[in-house]
């Protein structure tokens, strides 16, 4: 939660400094951000490759654990496709690329900005921050009405870090491995899905 606030503050700081025209023009070069982004993706890969929880989780819950990230992905895309009818100004693939952020707002918004410009990038940033926020706030309610997996699927890529404590508390410690496994798979899939929808 603290980290999300810092991210949001830095974004706001950028907006404010730019509004007042306090940004030196040297910083407004296009290609710097692209190379920083590629560096970021490389480190995201390292983080995934060096984590060890993946196989222990599969061993404990069996194959059905794979269904959890599948449910997240199918549910997210179906839901986004449905509400995209309410957004005539945006194409289906743009909406799906925002949805494919799976609450991983930092990476998804930056990727989308790079491909489609800052407007859709900002939609992605806000939408995916809201998704994390919803899970942080509504998890007790979700668990009561929709079962112990619901905050995990709603939490998307954040279930291995920011939303893990609240999931542990309300879904129970049994579901920690599920949340970690799920978070890792979804984390890895975010850049793939986002870039896939943006090429459509």
């Amino acid at each position: 939660m603290k980290q999300s606030l810092i991210y949001l503050l830095l974004f706001a700081l950028g907006v404010i400094l730019a509004l007042f025209g306090w940004i030196p023009e040297v910083l407004l070069k296009d290609d710097i951000s692209k190379w920083i982004l590629y560096g970021l993706l490389f480190f995201v890969g390292i983080q995934i490759g060096s984590s060890k929880n993946m196989f222990t989780a599969v061993r404990r819950f069996g194959f059905k654990i794979v269904l959890v990230p599948v449910a997240t992905t199918v549910g997210t895309f179906a839901g986004v496709a449905l509400v995209s009818i309410l957004l005539p100004g945006r194409s289906l693939s743009d909406c799906l690329s925002v949805g494919a952020g799976f609450a991983y707002y930092s990476l998804s918004s930056i990727l989308i900005s790079e491909f489609r410009g800052a407007e859709l990038g900002t939609v992605a940033l806000l939408a995916n921050i809201m998704r994390e926020f919803i899970v942080l706030v509504f998890t007790p309610w979700m668990v009561r009405y929709f079962g112990k997996l619901s905050p995990i699927c709603a939490g998307g890529a954040t279930t291995m870090d920011t939303t893990l404590p609240v999931i542990t508390k309300y879904s129970g410690p049994d579901y920690v491995v599920v949340a970690l496994f799920h978070g890792m798979i979804i984390d890895f899939s975010v850049p793939l899905w986002v870039s896939f929808f943006l090429t459509l």
């Binding site: 810092i6 991210y7 830095l10 974004f11 700081l13 950028g14 400094l17 730019a18 509004l19 025209g21 023009e25 910083l27 407004l28 692209k34 920083i36 970021l40 993706l41 890969g45 390292i46 983080q47 995934i48 490759g49 060096s50 060890k52 059905k64 959890v68 449910a71 997240t72 199918v74 549910g75 895309f77 839901g79 986004v80 496709a81 509400v83 925002v98 799976f102 930092s106 918004s109 930056i110 900005s113 790079e114 491909f115 410009g117 800052a118 990038g121 900002t122 940033l125 806000l126 939408a127 995916n128 809201m130 899970v135 929709f146 079962g147 997996l149 699927c153 709603a154 850049p191 090429t199």
Partner: protein, 111 residues
């Protein structure tokens, strides 16, 4: 003076094949990270990866903020952008919660 130039607007006007190439680049970069990560997983310094990622993200989000702030159109429409974001999130969250409910009651819940 800063114009309304959009800083992150790199690939928008380029054609399809270039986008495919960029997507492949992205996949290859992540996969090479995964391979490197697997081989260095026992080296203690690997634990700093998360910190490095956070720092890069902070830098890039600051830049995203700058590109939003320099774009007058975007600043003017900020509330409608927020509403679009809320609608998309509503669909995404509700859809995944319902699917979670389905597989929970079918495969996970103990009788």
């Amino acid at each position: 003076m800063i114009t309304g130039k959009d800083f992150f607007h790199t690939f928008v006007n380029k054609d399809f094949s270039i986008k495919i190439k960029i997507m492949l680049n992205i996949i290859l970069i992540i996969l090479s990270g995964v391979v490197v990560g697997y081989f260095v997983r026992k080296i203690p310094q690997v634990k700093y990866t998360g910190t490095i990622i956070s720092l890069i993200i902070m830098l890039l989000l600051f830049f995203l903020g700058v590109s939003v702030g320099t774009n007058e159109q975007l600043v003017k429409n900020f509330s409608s952008i927020g509403l679009d974001a809320l609608i998309i999130t509503f669909g995404a969250t509700l859809g995944s919660v319902l699917c979670a409910w389905l597989i929970y009651s079918t495969f996970f819940k103990k009788p």
